[in-house]
Protein backbone atom coordinates (compact mmCIF):
# COMPACT_ATOMS: atom_id res chain seq x y z
CA UNK A 1 0.00 0.00 0.00
CA UNK A 2 1.40 3.36 -1.08
CA UNK A 3 -0.19 6.42 0.46
CA UNK A 4 0.60 9.82 -0.99
CA UNK A 5 -0.53 12.57 1.39
CA UNK A 6 -0.67 16.26 0.42
CA UNK A 7 2.60 16.00 -1.43
CA UNK A 8 4.04 19.09 -3.00
CA UNK A 9 7.24 19.47 -4.94
CA UNK A 10 8.79 22.43 -6.71
CA UNK A 11 11.76 22.79 -8.99
CA UNK A 12 12.93 26.36 -8.51
CA UNK A 13 9.84 28.51 -8.91
CA UNK A 14 7.81 25.91 -10.76
CA UNK A 15 5.51 23.91 -8.54
CA UNK A 16 5.27 20.50 -10.17
CA UNK A 17 3.11 18.71 -7.58
CA UNK A 18 0.43 20.61 -5.67
CA UNK A 19 -0.93 18.89 -2.58
CA UNK A 20 -1.33 15.55 -4.28
CA UNK A 21 -3.19 12.93 -2.27
CA UNK A 22 -3.71 9.45 -3.68
CA UNK A 23 -3.47 5.79 -2.65
CA UNK A 24 -2.12 2.93 -4.67
CA UNK A 25 -2.87 -0.64 -3.70
CA UNK A 26 -3.09 -3.94 -5.60
CA UNK A 27 -3.44 -3.74 -9.37
CA UNK A 28 -2.21 -1.64 -12.23
CA UNK A 29 -2.59 2.12 -12.10
CA UNK A 30 -1.73 4.11 -15.20
CA UNK A 31 -0.86 7.77 -14.81
CA UNK A 32 -1.58 9.96 -17.79
CA UNK A 33 -1.35 13.64 -18.52
CA UNK A 34 0.53 16.14 -20.65
CA UNK A 35 4.25 16.49 -20.30
CA UNK A 36 5.03 18.70 -17.36
CA UNK A 37 1.92 17.55 -15.52
CA UNK A 38 4.05 15.96 -12.80
CA UNK A 39 3.68 12.27 -13.67
CA UNK A 40 7.34 11.33 -13.58
CA UNK A 41 7.96 13.55 -10.59
CA UNK A 42 5.26 11.72 -8.65
CA UNK A 43 6.95 8.36 -9.36
CA UNK A 44 10.37 9.75 -8.53
CA UNK A 45 9.07 11.12 -5.23
CA UNK A 46 7.65 7.73 -4.29
CA UNK A 47 11.05 6.19 -5.02
CA UNK A 48 12.82 8.88 -3.01
CA UNK A 49 14.81 10.09 -6.01
CA UNK A 50 13.23 13.50 -5.51
CA UNK A 51 12.84 14.88 -2.04
CA UNK A 52 9.32 16.09 -1.34
CA UNK A 53 8.84 19.67 -0.13
CA UNK A 54 5.68 19.04 1.84
CA UNK A 55 3.27 16.27 2.81
CA UNK A 56 4.19 12.62 3.26
CA UNK A 57 4.49 9.39 1.34
CA UNK A 58 3.91 6.22 3.33
CA UNK A 59 4.83 2.82 1.92
CA UNK A 60 3.83 -0.14 4.10
CA UNK A 61 3.75 2.12 7.14
CA UNK A 62 7.19 3.56 6.35
CA UNK A 63 7.26 7.32 5.98
CA UNK A 64 9.61 8.65 3.34
CA UNK A 65 10.24 11.71 5.50
CA UNK A 66 12.27 9.51 7.81
CA UNK A 67 15.64 9.24 6.06
CA UNK A 68 16.23 5.77 7.49
CA UNK A 69 13.26 4.41 5.55
CA UNK A 70 14.25 5.58 2.09
CA UNK A 71 16.31 2.51 1.20
CA UNK A 72 13.68 0.10 2.39
CA UNK A 73 11.02 1.97 0.44
CA UNK A 74 13.19 1.73 -2.66
CA UNK A 75 13.48 -2.02 -2.22
CA UNK A 76 9.70 -2.21 -2.01
CA UNK A 77 9.09 0.06 -4.99
CA UNK A 78 11.69 -0.52 -7.68
CA UNK A 79 11.74 1.67 -10.70
CA UNK A 80 12.29 1.21 -14.42
CA UNK A 81 13.44 4.25 -16.37
CA UNK A 82 12.86 5.70 -19.81
CA UNK A 83 16.58 5.47 -20.59
CA UNK A 84 16.92 1.90 -19.22
CA UNK A 85 19.99 2.88 -17.18
CA UNK A 86 21.56 -0.56 -17.32
CA UNK A 87 25.08 -0.71 -15.92
CA UNK A 88 27.28 -0.76 -19.05
CA UNK A 89 30.22 -2.50 -17.39
CA UNK A 90 28.11 -5.49 -16.35
CA UNK A 91 26.48 -8.12 -18.53
CA UNK A 92 22.74 -8.76 -18.41
CA UNK A 93 22.99 -11.38 -15.69
CA UNK A 94 25.32 -9.26 -13.53
CA UNK A 95 23.04 -6.26 -13.97
CA UNK A 96 20.20 -8.28 -12.52
CA UNK A 97 22.10 -9.95 -9.69
CA UNK A 98 24.02 -6.88 -8.46
CA UNK A 99 21.48 -5.55 -6.02
CA UNK A 100 20.08 -8.87 -4.70
CA UNK A 101 23.65 -9.89 -3.85
CA UNK A 102 24.60 -6.59 -2.22
CA UNK A 103 21.29 -5.39 -0.85
CA UNK A 104 19.36 -8.56 -0.05
CA UNK A 105 22.60 -10.48 0.72
CA UNK A 106 21.44 -13.33 -1.50
CA UNK A 107 23.93 -16.11 -2.33
CA UNK A 108 25.47 -15.65 -5.77
CA UNK A 109 24.34 -19.07 -7.06
CA UNK A 110 20.84 -18.53 -5.88
CA UNK A 111 20.72 -15.03 -7.36
CA UNK A 112 21.99 -16.26 -10.71
CA UNK A 113 19.46 -19.05 -10.80
CA UNK A 114 16.65 -16.65 -10.12
CA UNK A 115 18.02 -14.09 -12.58
CA UNK A 116 18.25 -16.70 -15.31
CA UNK A 117 14.61 -17.60 -14.78
CA UNK A 118 13.63 -13.95 -14.99
CA UNK A 119 15.67 -13.45 -18.16
CA UNK A 120 13.80 -16.35 -19.68
CA UNK A 121 10.53 -14.83 -18.57
CA UNK A 122 11.33 -11.64 -20.49
CA UNK A 123 12.46 -13.71 -23.48
CA UNK A 124 16.19 -13.12 -23.18
CA UNK A 125 17.40 -16.49 -21.92
CA UNK A 126 20.36 -16.57 -24.33
CA UNK A 127 21.43 -13.00 -23.65
CA UNK A 128 22.62 -13.54 -20.07
CA UNK A 129 26.26 -12.91 -20.98
CA UNK A 130 25.59 -9.99 -23.33
CA UNK A 131 26.60 -6.47 -22.38
CA UNK A 132 24.08 -3.62 -22.68
CA UNK A 133 25.92 -2.23 -25.72
CA UNK A 134 25.27 -5.52 -27.49
CA UNK A 135 21.52 -5.39 -26.90
CA UNK A 136 18.79 -3.46 -28.72
CA UNK A 137 16.81 -0.82 -26.86
CA UNK A 138 13.89 -3.16 -26.39
CA UNK A 139 16.14 -5.92 -25.08
CA UNK A 140 17.86 -3.52 -22.70
CA UNK A 141 14.54 -2.40 -21.34
CA UNK A 142 13.45 -5.99 -20.80
CA UNK A 143 16.66 -6.63 -18.85
CA UNK A 144 15.87 -3.52 -16.79
CA UNK A 145 12.41 -4.91 -16.04
CA UNK A 146 13.92 -8.22 -14.96
CA UNK A 147 16.38 -6.29 -12.80
CA UNK A 148 13.54 -4.47 -11.05
CA UNK A 149 11.49 -7.66 -10.61
CA UNK A 150 14.47 -9.45 -9.09
CA UNK A 151 13.95 -7.45 -5.90
CA UNK A 152 10.43 -8.88 -5.61
CA UNK A 153 9.06 -5.42 -5.06
CA UNK A 154 5.68 -4.71 -3.59
CA UNK A 155 5.14 -2.34 -6.51
CA UNK A 156 6.87 -1.69 -9.80
CA UNK A 157 7.22 1.94 -10.88
CA UNK A 158 7.47 2.31 -14.64
CA UNK A 159 8.47 5.76 -15.88
CA UNK A 160 7.68 6.12 -19.61
CA UNK A 161 9.58 2.95 -20.26
CA UNK A 162 8.72 2.78 -23.96
CA UNK A 163 9.21 6.44 -24.85
CA UNK A 164 12.73 5.87 -26.14
CA UNK A 165 11.75 2.85 -28.25
CA UNK A 166 10.40 2.38 -31.77
CA UNK A 167 6.93 0.81 -32.17
CA UNK A 168 8.20 -2.73 -32.65
CA UNK A 169 10.35 -2.65 -29.52
CA UNK A 170 7.56 -0.89 -27.65
CA UNK A 171 5.31 -3.85 -28.42
CA UNK A 172 7.82 -6.40 -27.13
CA UNK A 173 8.34 -4.46 -23.91
CA UNK A 174 4.64 -3.89 -23.28
CA UNK A 175 4.05 -7.56 -23.94
CA UNK A 176 6.38 -8.39 -21.05
CA UNK A 177 4.69 -5.84 -18.79
CA UNK A 178 1.31 -7.31 -19.62
CA UNK A 179 2.53 -10.74 -18.57
CA UNK A 180 3.94 -9.37 -15.34
CA UNK A 181 0.66 -7.56 -14.66
CA UNK A 182 -1.34 -10.75 -15.14
CA UNK A 183 0.70 -12.35 -12.37
CA UNK A 184 -0.83 -9.80 -10.04
CA UNK A 185 2.17 -7.48 -9.63
CA UNK A 186 1.20 -4.03 -8.44
CA UNK A 187 2.33 -1.40 -10.87
CA UNK A 188 2.24 2.33 -11.27
CA UNK A 189 2.81 3.11 -14.91
CA UNK A 190 3.44 6.46 -16.55
CA UNK A 191 2.73 5.99 -20.25
CA UNK A 192 1.17 7.51 -23.34
CA UNK A 193 0.28 4.10 -24.81
CA UNK A 194 -3.51 4.19 -24.89
CA UNK A 195 -4.14 0.66 -26.11
CA UNK A 196 -1.82 -0.69 -23.43
CA UNK A 197 -3.58 1.34 -20.75
CA UNK A 198 -6.97 0.15 -21.97
CA UNK A 199 -5.86 -3.47 -21.91
CA UNK A 200 -3.82 -3.63 -18.71
CA UNK A 201 -4.81 -0.82 -16.36
CA UNK A 202 -7.34 -1.29 -13.59
CA UNK A 203 -7.44 2.40 -12.99
CA UNK A 204 -6.33 5.57 -14.66
CA UNK A 205 -5.11 8.67 -12.93
CA UNK A 206 -5.14 11.87 -14.94
CA UNK A 207 -2.71 14.53 -13.77
CA UNK A 208 -2.89 18.12 -14.84
CA UNK A 209 -0.68 20.96 -13.66
CA UNK A 210 0.45 19.04 -10.64
CA UNK A 211 -2.98 18.07 -9.38
CA UNK A 212 -5.12 14.99 -9.82
CA UNK A 213 -7.74 15.93 -12.34
CA UNK A 214 -9.38 12.51 -12.51
CA UNK A 215 -8.94 9.09 -10.93
CA UNK A 216 -11.27 6.47 -12.38
CA UNK A 217 -11.74 2.89 -13.49
CA UNK A 218 -10.25 2.23 -16.91
CA UNK A 219 -13.51 1.79 -18.87
CA UNK A 220 -14.94 4.79 -17.14
CA UNK A 221 -11.95 6.86 -18.22
CA UNK A 222 -12.19 5.93 -21.87
CA UNK A 223 -15.95 6.56 -21.97
CA UNK A 224 -16.00 9.69 -19.92
CA UNK A 225 -17.86 12.83 -20.89
CA UNK A 226 -15.12 14.89 -19.23
CA UNK A 227 -14.20 17.40 -21.88
CA UNK A 228 -10.58 17.88 -20.74
CA UNK A 229 -9.85 14.17 -20.81
CA UNK A 230 -11.46 13.72 -24.21
CA UNK A 231 -9.42 16.53 -25.64
CA UNK A 232 -6.27 14.87 -24.25
CA UNK A 233 -7.19 11.45 -25.62
CA UNK A 234 -7.92 12.85 -29.05
CA UNK A 235 -4.61 14.61 -29.14
CA UNK A 236 -2.73 11.40 -28.38
CA UNK A 237 -4.77 9.27 -30.74
CA UNK A 238 -4.07 11.56 -33.69
CA UNK A 239 -0.43 12.22 -32.94
Amino acid sequence: MIQVRNVSKSFGKTQVLKNVTIDFSQGVAVIMGQSGAGKSTLLRCINGLEKIDGGDIVVDNLSINDKKNVREIREKCTMVFQQFNLFPHLNALENITLSPIHVLKMEKDQAEKKATALLEMVGLGEKAKSYPSQLSGGQQQRVAIARALMMEPMALLLDEITSALDPEMTAEVLDVIERVARKGTTMIVVTHELSFARKVADRIVFLENGTIHADMKTEEFFNTQNERINRFLQKIEFS
Binding site: N47, G48, L49, R71, E72, R74, E75, T78, M79, F81, Q83, N85, L86, F87, P88, H89, N91, L98, S99, H102, V103, Y131, P132, S133, Q134, A144, R147, A148, M151, L157
Partner: protein, 224 residues
Protein backbone atom coordinates in the same frame (compact mmCIF):
# COMPACT_ATOMS: atom_id res chain seq x y z
CA UNK B 1 97.47 26.22 -30.40
CA UNK B 2 97.06 26.16 -26.66
CA UNK B 3 93.50 24.93 -27.00
CA UNK B 4 91.97 23.94 -23.71
CA UNK B 5 91.14 20.25 -23.68
CA UNK B 6 87.87 19.55 -21.93
CA UNK B 7 87.75 16.34 -19.97
CA UNK B 8 85.87 13.38 -21.36
CA UNK B 9 82.90 11.63 -19.82
CA UNK B 10 84.07 8.98 -17.42
CA UNK B 11 82.48 5.81 -16.12
CA UNK B 12 81.78 7.70 -12.94
CA UNK B 13 79.81 10.31 -14.92
CA UNK B 14 77.67 7.59 -16.43
CA UNK B 15 77.00 6.29 -12.96
CA UNK B 16 76.05 9.80 -11.88
CA UNK B 17 73.62 10.12 -14.78
CA UNK B 18 71.97 6.81 -13.93
CA UNK B 19 71.76 7.79 -10.30
CA UNK B 20 70.15 11.09 -11.33
CA UNK B 21 67.70 9.15 -13.43
CA UNK B 22 66.86 6.96 -10.42
CA UNK B 23 66.34 10.03 -8.25
CA UNK B 24 64.03 11.57 -10.84
CA UNK B 25 62.00 8.37 -10.99
CA UNK B 26 61.86 8.22 -7.19
CA UNK B 27 60.63 11.78 -6.61
CA UNK B 28 58.15 11.51 -9.46
CA UNK B 29 56.74 8.27 -8.05
CA UNK B 30 56.50 9.70 -4.54
CA UNK B 31 54.87 12.86 -5.88
CA UNK B 32 52.38 10.81 -7.87
CA UNK B 33 51.56 8.70 -4.80
CA UNK B 34 50.96 11.83 -2.71
CA UNK B 35 49.07 13.45 -5.57
CA UNK B 36 46.86 10.44 -6.09
CA UNK B 37 46.01 10.05 -2.41
CA UNK B 38 45.20 13.73 -1.81
CA UNK B 39 43.72 14.26 -5.25
CA UNK B 40 41.39 11.28 -4.88
CA UNK B 41 39.97 12.49 -1.58
CA UNK B 42 39.61 16.09 -2.74
CA UNK B 43 38.16 15.13 -6.12
CA UNK B 44 35.72 12.72 -4.48
CA UNK B 45 34.48 15.36 -2.05
CA UNK B 46 34.18 17.86 -4.91
CA UNK B 47 32.08 15.36 -6.85
CA UNK B 48 29.57 15.18 -4.01
CA UNK B 49 28.64 18.80 -4.71
CA UNK B 50 28.27 19.72 -1.05
CA UNK B 51 27.47 23.45 -1.31
CA UNK B 52 30.12 25.29 0.75
CA UNK B 53 32.74 22.54 1.01
CA UNK B 54 32.92 22.16 -2.74
CA UNK B 55 33.77 25.85 -3.19
CA UNK B 56 36.24 25.83 -0.29
CA UNK B 57 38.25 23.10 -1.97
CA UNK B 58 38.71 25.38 -4.95
CA UNK B 59 40.79 27.59 -2.67
CA UNK B 60 43.21 24.67 -2.50
CA UNK B 61 43.00 23.58 -6.11
CA UNK B 62 42.98 26.77 -8.17
CA UNK B 63 46.04 28.65 -6.81
CA UNK B 64 48.13 25.52 -7.27
CA UNK B 65 46.91 24.92 -10.80
CA UNK B 66 47.36 28.54 -11.76
CA UNK B 67 50.80 29.38 -10.44
CA UNK B 68 54.19 28.21 -11.71
CA UNK B 69 55.67 25.16 -10.07
CA UNK B 70 58.95 27.03 -9.70
CA UNK B 71 57.26 29.63 -7.51
CA UNK B 72 55.74 26.84 -5.43
CA UNK B 73 59.11 25.16 -5.04
CA UNK B 74 60.82 28.38 -3.95
CA UNK B 75 57.96 29.09 -1.58
CA UNK B 76 58.31 25.65 0.02
CA UNK B 77 62.09 25.57 0.12
CA UNK B 78 62.97 29.17 1.02
CA UNK B 79 59.66 30.67 2.14
CA UNK B 80 58.50 28.20 4.76
CA UNK B 81 61.86 28.20 6.52
CA UNK B 82 61.69 31.98 6.86
CA UNK B 83 58.39 32.07 8.74
CA UNK B 84 58.51 28.78 10.68
CA UNK B 85 61.06 26.83 12.62
CA UNK B 86 60.85 24.09 10.07
CA UNK B 87 63.33 24.14 7.26
CA UNK B 88 62.64 21.40 4.76
CA UNK B 89 65.46 19.59 3.01
CA UNK B 90 65.65 19.92 -0.75
CA UNK B 91 64.30 16.38 -1.01
CA UNK B 92 61.33 17.09 1.26
CA UNK B 93 60.55 20.36 -0.51
CA UNK B 94 60.84 18.69 -3.92
CA UNK B 95 58.66 15.69 -3.13
CA UNK B 96 55.94 17.51 -1.23
CA UNK B 97 55.69 20.45 -3.59
CA UNK B 98 55.53 18.21 -6.60
CA UNK B 99 53.08 15.91 -4.76
CA UNK B 100 50.71 18.68 -3.73
CA UNK B 101 50.96 20.21 -7.18
CA UNK B 102 50.02 16.82 -8.65
CA UNK B 103 47.12 16.48 -6.21
CA UNK B 104 45.44 19.66 -7.47
CA UNK B 105 45.47 18.41 -11.04
CA UNK B 106 44.52 14.89 -9.97
CA UNK B 107 41.57 16.25 -7.98
CA UNK B 108 40.21 17.87 -11.12
CA UNK B 109 40.59 14.62 -13.07
CA UNK B 110 38.96 12.55 -10.30
CA UNK B 111 36.04 14.95 -10.04
CA UNK B 112 35.55 15.08 -13.81
CA UNK B 113 35.76 11.27 -14.10
CA UNK B 114 33.12 10.73 -11.43
CA UNK B 115 30.84 13.36 -12.94
CA UNK B 116 31.26 11.82 -16.37
CA UNK B 117 29.14 8.90 -15.18
CA UNK B 118 25.53 9.52 -16.16
CA UNK B 119 23.15 10.60 -13.40
CA UNK B 120 20.86 7.79 -14.49
CA UNK B 121 23.44 5.26 -13.26
CA UNK B 122 23.23 6.65 -9.73
CA UNK B 123 19.46 6.74 -9.89
CA UNK B 124 19.15 3.20 -11.19
CA UNK B 125 21.40 1.92 -8.40
CA UNK B 126 19.59 3.93 -5.73
CA UNK B 127 16.21 2.77 -6.98
CA UNK B 128 17.38 -0.81 -6.45
CA UNK B 129 18.22 -0.05 -2.82
CA UNK B 130 22.01 0.36 -3.07
CA UNK B 131 23.64 2.85 -0.70
CA UNK B 132 25.82 5.77 -1.76
CA UNK B 133 29.04 3.81 -1.16
CA UNK B 134 27.76 0.63 -2.78
CA UNK B 135 26.74 2.64 -5.82
CA UNK B 136 30.07 4.42 -5.85
CA UNK B 137 32.10 1.22 -5.55
CA UNK B 138 30.08 -1.18 -7.69
CA UNK B 139 28.69 1.09 -10.38
CA UNK B 140 30.39 4.48 -10.60
CA UNK B 141 34.08 3.70 -10.03
CA UNK B 142 33.96 0.94 -12.63
CA UNK B 143 32.88 3.45 -15.25
CA UNK B 144 34.77 6.50 -14.02
CA UNK B 145 38.10 4.63 -14.00
CA UNK B 146 37.94 4.33 -17.76
CA UNK B 147 37.83 8.09 -18.07
CA UNK B 148 40.33 8.56 -15.27
CA UNK B 149 43.21 6.35 -16.40
CA UNK B 150 44.18 8.01 -19.70
CA UNK B 151 43.99 11.53 -18.21
CA UNK B 152 45.88 10.53 -15.11
CA UNK B 153 48.65 8.80 -17.03
CA UNK B 154 48.93 11.98 -19.09
CA UNK B 155 49.33 13.93 -15.87
CA UNK B 156 52.05 11.54 -14.70
CA UNK B 157 54.03 12.08 -17.90
CA UNK B 158 53.69 15.83 -17.45
CA UNK B 159 54.76 15.71 -13.81
CA UNK B 160 57.81 13.68 -14.77
CA UNK B 161 58.85 16.47 -17.16
CA UNK B 162 58.24 19.28 -14.70
CA UNK B 163 60.02 17.39 -11.93
CA UNK B 164 63.18 18.69 -13.65
CA UNK B 165 62.40 22.05 -12.02
CA UNK B 166 63.42 20.68 -8.61
CA UNK B 167 66.99 21.10 -9.84
CA UNK B 168 66.47 24.84 -9.27
CA UNK B 169 66.40 24.39 -5.50
CA UNK B 170 69.62 22.43 -5.71
CA UNK B 171 68.13 18.97 -5.56
CA UNK B 172 70.29 16.55 -7.50
CA UNK B 173 67.91 14.94 -9.97
CA UNK B 174 68.66 13.96 -13.56
CA UNK B 175 68.56 17.57 -14.77
CA UNK B 176 70.89 18.74 -12.00
CA UNK B 177 73.36 16.03 -12.94
CA UNK B 178 73.14 17.37 -16.48
CA UNK B 179 74.09 20.87 -15.26
CA UNK B 180 76.98 19.54 -13.24
CA UNK B 181 78.43 17.44 -16.02
CA UNK B 182 78.03 20.27 -18.51
CA UNK B 183 79.99 22.59 -16.28
CA UNK B 184 82.78 20.08 -15.90
CA UNK B 185 83.06 18.75 -19.44
CA UNK B 186 81.67 21.70 -21.40
CA UNK B 187 79.95 19.34 -23.80
CA UNK B 188 76.35 20.58 -23.60
CA UNK B 189 75.33 18.99 -26.88
CA UNK B 190 76.36 15.54 -25.74
CA UNK B 191 75.23 15.85 -22.12
CA UNK B 192 71.80 17.31 -22.78
CA UNK B 193 71.22 14.76 -25.54
CA UNK B 194 71.91 12.01 -23.03
CA UNK B 195 69.70 13.64 -20.40
CA UNK B 196 66.86 14.04 -22.90
CA UNK B 197 67.17 10.42 -23.97
CA UNK B 198 67.08 9.26 -20.36
CA UNK B 199 63.88 11.26 -19.72
CA UNK B 200 62.48 9.79 -22.90
CA UNK B 201 63.29 6.28 -21.72
CA UNK B 202 61.20 6.85 -18.59
CA UNK B 203 58.44 8.82 -20.26
CA UNK B 204 57.78 6.97 -23.47
CA UNK B 205 56.57 3.68 -21.98
CA UNK B 206 54.12 5.67 -19.83
CA UNK B 207 52.82 7.53 -22.90
CA UNK B 208 52.41 4.23 -24.68
CA UNK B 209 50.47 2.89 -21.77
CA UNK B 210 48.22 5.97 -21.91
CA UNK B 211 47.44 5.27 -25.54
CA UNK B 212 46.73 1.63 -24.76
CA UNK B 213 44.47 2.63 -21.89
CA UNK B 214 42.64 5.02 -24.20
CA UNK B 215 41.85 2.31 -26.71
CA UNK B 216 40.53 0.21 -23.86
CA UNK B 217 38.22 3.06 -22.93
CA UNK B 218 36.91 3.38 -26.46
CA UNK B 219 36.25 -0.35 -26.57
CA UNK B 220 34.15 0.08 -23.47
CA UNK B 221 31.37 -2.45 -23.10
CA UNK B 222 32.43 -4.45 -26.14
CA UNK B 223 34.94 -6.52 -24.26
CA UNK B 224 33.53 -5.79 -20.84
Amino acid sequence: MGQYIFPNLTGYDVQLLLKGMGTTILITLLAIAIGLAFGFVIGLIRSMRIPVVSKLLLIYIEPIRNSPLVAQLFFAYYGIAMVTNFSPSAFQAAVWTLGINTSAFAAVIVNASIRSVDKGQWEAAYSLGLTYWQTFRLVVVQQAIRVFIPSFVGLCVNQLQVSSLVSLIGFVDLTRVGYMLTLRTYRPFLIWSIVAVLYFVISYPISRFARYAETRVKAFGKIG
